[in-house]
């Protein structure tokens, strides 16, 4: 097996720029490994012919000034790709081929990247283990009986297994950061509105945000730079100048104030997580940062708030999958209503149905004020907690997840315990802030654990810098043994 696929994105870009490898060779290396890695089930669709053709075109006339010159990339199957199946991990869209390209993927192709395939994910991004996918669960390359996290589980698994040099996911409540933490990779959820949502299958519109998943912080900055940008087709997109995150990346974090929120020390949290958090603090302190204890008092309400807001929006966003226009339609039923019922009963999986039910309930007349409206108010309080503390600190350090990767099937019958996995990640989505998960160590089983850095609105550069400095001093080494080959 080639050692090249193990390299970071930035190293691969260097090889291409120095003409030490051709785009086509590179594509073939990844294709070869993807073909041998079916056990992981990280790809739903492969676009190999397309990738070869595009890489040949690139090699004929290489534009080496682009950010991702001739780099093959697989993306989460929630991004609509023109001419390629986009399933959202659901039977409902099993055979759906968009005739349009999402803004974020379009931005990647414009920077020279080449679509390699579509990566598995929880159905409609609803899940924390990639076990709700209609196309089967994804295996974490860390160990064959563990989940990669979710919902961007296919992305995390493929990345950690060297089946793509970098990737993108979407993060509604932790769907980038939690799988990054579970697979020993870097994942960043940008500020809400930094990356366009146009062309991404919607889960919860006010929370959904696309972001990069990479093997290093530098790679993360390159990918973010390529995918971010104002899009007039998305009314919630932020109008601002593009930033050069990779060029401005630096390790000097002297004098930066890092907040440690006491509310993130939750009951029954494994000792290892606490130790990891302390390790993080001391690394940053040694680098000259000031560590400051802070309080985010409404943190404990974040999870229940999230599980009202997200399902409410999802129940409405998923109403369009009705069998009328595209996607799955049941052959059973004597009238319109029966067709709807059968289509949606057969087309959606259990977790999606559960959230549609919850969402429909919390928006119903008589319950709206008690649930949805109250949740919106709490959401404001959670945001206010962050705003107030960002007067005192420049970034906040927390664990990314309350545990390392759990076993396949361990939580599938216990949705609450599954939801609890998002406890450290959801407050960030509710507040619309950027946050990055960086690998920080291994637990005693040898499974990776991540730490999360939360930044101010549009302060991606700052958390990238802190993460970059941390990464350089943490000596984390992912131990993936290619057991599936």
């Amino acid at each position: 097996m080639s050692e090249i696929v193990k390299k970071n994105l930035s190293e691969i870009i260097d090889l291409i720029k120095k003409k030490e490898i051709k785009s086509e060779e590179l594509a073939n290396l990844y294709i070869d490994k993807v073909n041998k890695s079916k056990k992981l089930n990280s790809y739903i669709t492969t676009c190999f012919e397309h990738a070869i053709q595009k890489s040949k075109e690139f090699d004929k006339k290489p534009n080496l000034n682009s950010l991702l010159p001739g780099v093959p990339l697989a993306v989460k199957d929630l991004f609509c790709t023109n001419g390629f199946k986009t399933t959202a991990g659901s039977k409902m869209l099993e055979n759906f081929i968009p005739q349009y390209e999402s803004t974020v993927t379009e931005n990647l192709w414009k920077e020279g990247a080449i679509l390699l395939g579509k990566l598995n994910c929880d159905e409609y991004a609803m899940g924390s283990s990639n076990e709700t996918s209609y196309f089967g669960n994804v295996v974490n390359p860390i160990a064959k009986d563990t989940v990669p996290g979710g919902s961007s589980g296919g992305s995390a698994s493929a990345l950690a297994a060297d089946l793509t040099p970098a990737t993108i996911g979407t993060d509604t409540g932790g769907s980038i950061r939690q799988p990054a933490s579970f697979t020993g990779t870097v994942g960043l959820k940008p500020t809400y509105g930094l990356c366009s949502r146009w062309g991404i299958v919607a889960f919860a519109s006010s929370l959904d945000q696309a972001g990069p998943m990479t093997k290093s912080v530098k790679d993360c900055s390159i990918m973010l730079e390529a995918m971010a940008g104002f899009d007039k087709k998305d009314s919630t997109s932020i109008e601002k100048k593009k930033e050069n995150y990779s060029k401005n990346l630096k390790t000097d974090i002297k004098g930066l104030k890092i907040g440690i929120p006491k509310e993130y020390r939750v009951d029954n949290m494994p000792k290892e997580i606490d130790e990891l958090w302390n390790k993080g603090k001391s690394i940053l302190k040694d680098l000259g940062a000031d560590i400051i204890d802070i309080s985010l008092p409404h943190t404990k309400y974040a999870l229940p708030t999230y599980y009202i807001v997200a399902p409410a929006e999802a129940s409405s966003n998923l109403a369009r999958y009705d069998g009328v226009k595209y996607g799955y339609r049941s052959s059973k039923g004597n009238d319109l209503i029966e067709m709807y019922e059968n289509t949606r009963s057969e087309g959606f999986g259990d977790e999606v149905k559960r959230r549609i039910l919850i969402g429909t309930y919390v928006l119903s007349s008589g319950y709206y004020d008690a649930y949805y409206l109250k949740a919106q108010k709490v959401r404001q309080l959670i945001k206010k907690d962050f705003d107030e503390n960002f007067g005192k600190v420049d970034a906040i350090l927390t664990p990314s997840t309350p545990s390392s990767a759990f076993k396949i099937g361990e939580k599938t019958n216990d949705p609450i315990s599954m939801y609890l996995n998002d406890i450290f990640t959801v407050p960030v989505n509710l507040a619309g802030l950027p946050a990055i998960s960086v690998p920080a160590g291994l637990d005693k089983k040898g499974y990776p654990l991540g730490l999360q850095l939360i930044g101010k609105t549009l302060d991606e550069q700052n958390i990238l810098n802190v993460a970059y400095a941390f990464e350089k001093n943490c000596n984390f080494k992912n131990e993936i043994k290619n057991w599936w080959l």
């Binding site: 349009y100 146009w198 998305d234 009314s235 409410a312 129940s315 998923l318 369009r320 928006l363 119903s364």
Partner: protein, 489 residues
């Protein structure tokens, strides 16, 4: 109901009832593209030829507000003397239907773009103010076609996503006649503003009609029924009359009115229950997270205000003071922007009062006969003004003028040209007339004697003879004067 006093009451067996009506008018915004997508909005296009990925709700598609639709709603709000809200919110109204691709309609629920306003009606019994509760923007749905195939329903999404203004009145209307006047007034205002073409045949204007009844003198409202989606003024009036009578009959029998949604069957001329309050949809309204709250700067409102055209109420007042028209005439002549423009052009070049009379008489009758809009009139305003001036100056008589008018309709020619070429000019030269009259008097010596001995009725005979002799061209006034003078002598 051309009476001086309001008298629309429904007489039940025991009591006399008053009818309370409120309207929710759905007016299609005049705009080139839809409320949240760039698709075209032309009426009558091939099915599904004006549908974007957004209108058909493909995965990942997002709405973006069309600013022109916002401006049109603000203009309409200003035309209704209403408060424009600087902050409003787009909500999702969730329900499933085959012609609703998103599974929800984007509408405005708690915070509409336009708040309270008012519309003035000119009723025969005086002017009446109708309160406007609110105006909000929303998307139209597509169209389900059930009669193309015995076993399938077809869906046309051309209309899906087109911007509608829902204009909600207060329950201030009291009769079908007032509803007629209200809809027409709304339509006139929106046509003046160019914000809705008001074309009811094409579905640009439709209404949900809320009807309740109460005993005359009662202060509390009765239970109302909502008649959905009525698309002509005539049907609205018929539906109200039927529904009010139905409710009165129930109350007279000691029964209760159930709050419900009803449909008007235009073939049977009756309303039928569609769903009761218990079966009412739970629309699960919530703010659309794909759209930010709509902020409207005061400057935009002020700027739009400056560009508003003169509206019918103001124009009517001006017509009365500038052109000396009475209220009725002014009302008719401002009822359409094009009519008022035509009138003003004519009035500037000719006698204002005579122009109004001729326009509302012969011109409107002709246009009505031919089914033409005034903008398609075969007689231009300039030619019409010349005709009025020819009458006013005495060049032609009213009777001849009618002939000239007919010829103008046929040929589109200038009236001067017609009068010249056909020799229709009025005989107004006193000497010439005197000559004709003298000849007639000489020929009818016996009749002159009878007249002089007291048979004054014969005056008409002499006039008739003069007209006959002159081919109808003798100036009637002058003829009278000269005849009187010569018969005296």
């Amino acid at each position: 109901m051309s009476k001086d006093k309001f008298d629309y009451f429904i007489k039940g067996e025991k009591n006399n009832y008053e009818v309370i009506i409120g309207l929710e008018v759905h007016a299609q915004v005049s705009s080139n593209s839809k409320l949240f997508s760039g698709s075209a909005t032309k009426f009558g296009a091939e099915p599904n030829s004006q549908v974007s990925l957004i209108d058909s709700a493909f995965p990942g598609m997002l709405p973006v507000i069309n600013k022109e639709c916002i401006n049109q709603a603000i203009r309409t709000g200003l035309g209704l003397n209403a408060k424009i809200n600087n902050n409003s919110v787009f909500d999702r109204k969730n329900y499933f239907y085959a012609d609703l691709p998103q599974g929800y309609q984007i509408s405005q629920y708690k915070n509409p773009i336009v708040g309270e306003g008012k519309v003035l009606l000119d009723m025969p019994y005086g002017s009446k103010e109708i309160g406007i509760e609110r105006l909000h923007l929303e998307q139209d749905a597509g169209k389900s076609i059930h009669d193309m195939d015995p076993s399938s329903t077809y869906v046309d999404l051309n209309r899906s996503g087109i911007a509608l203004m829902e204009i909600v009145s207060k329950p201030d209307l009291r009769s079908p006649e007032e509803v007629n006047a209200y809809i027409k007034k709304l339509r006139t205002i929106m046509r003046y503003l160019g914000t809705c073409d008001g074309n009811m045949q094409e579905g640009s204007l439709r209404a949900d009609v809320n009807v309740s009844v109460r005993q005359v003198g009662d202060k509390n409202f009765g239970t109302r029924c909502e008649i959905k989606n009525v698309n002509s003024i005539k049907f609205m009036q018929m539906a109200i009359e039927y529904e009010a009578k139905r409710q009165v009959e129930l109350l007279d029998e000691g029964k209760k009115i159930e709050q419900e949604t009803r449909l008007f069957d235009t073939k049977k001329n009756e309303t039928r229950s569609m769903r009761s309050k218990e079966d009412a949809h739970d629309y699960r309204y919530f703010p659309d997270p794909d759209l930010l709250p709509l902020k409207i700067e005061q400057k935009l409102i002020d700027d739009l205000k400056k560009t508003l055209p003169e509206l019918p109420d103001n124009k009517k007042e001006r017509f009365m003071s500038d052109y000396g028209l009475n209220s009725y005439e002014a009302n008719v002549l401002v009822s359409e922007k094009e009519i008022s423009n035509y009138y003003e052009e004519v009035a500037k070049l000719s006698d204002k009062k005579l122009a109004a009379t001729w326009m509302m008489g012969d011109l409107f009758a002709m246009l009505n006969d031919k089914g033409l809009n005034i903008s398609k009139s075969p007689i231009s305003a300039k030619n019409f003004a010349e005709l009025i001036q020819s009458i006013k100056s005495g060049e032609i008589s009213g009777r001849i003028a009618k002939e000239v008018f007919e010829l103008m309709v046929e040929s589109g020619d200038n009236p001067k040209k017609i009068i010249e070429s056909k020799g229709m000019k009025q005989q107004s030269d006193p000497k010439e007339l005197e000559k004709i009259i003298n000849e007639i008097l000489t020929k009818n010596k016996d009749k002159v004697d009878q007249y002089k001995s007291g048979k004054e009725k014969l005056f008409g005979f002499f006039v008739g003879q003069v007209m006959k002799q002159s081919g109808g061209k003798a100036n009637p006034q002058l003829t009278n004067d000269i005849l009187k003078k010569l018969l005296k002598g």
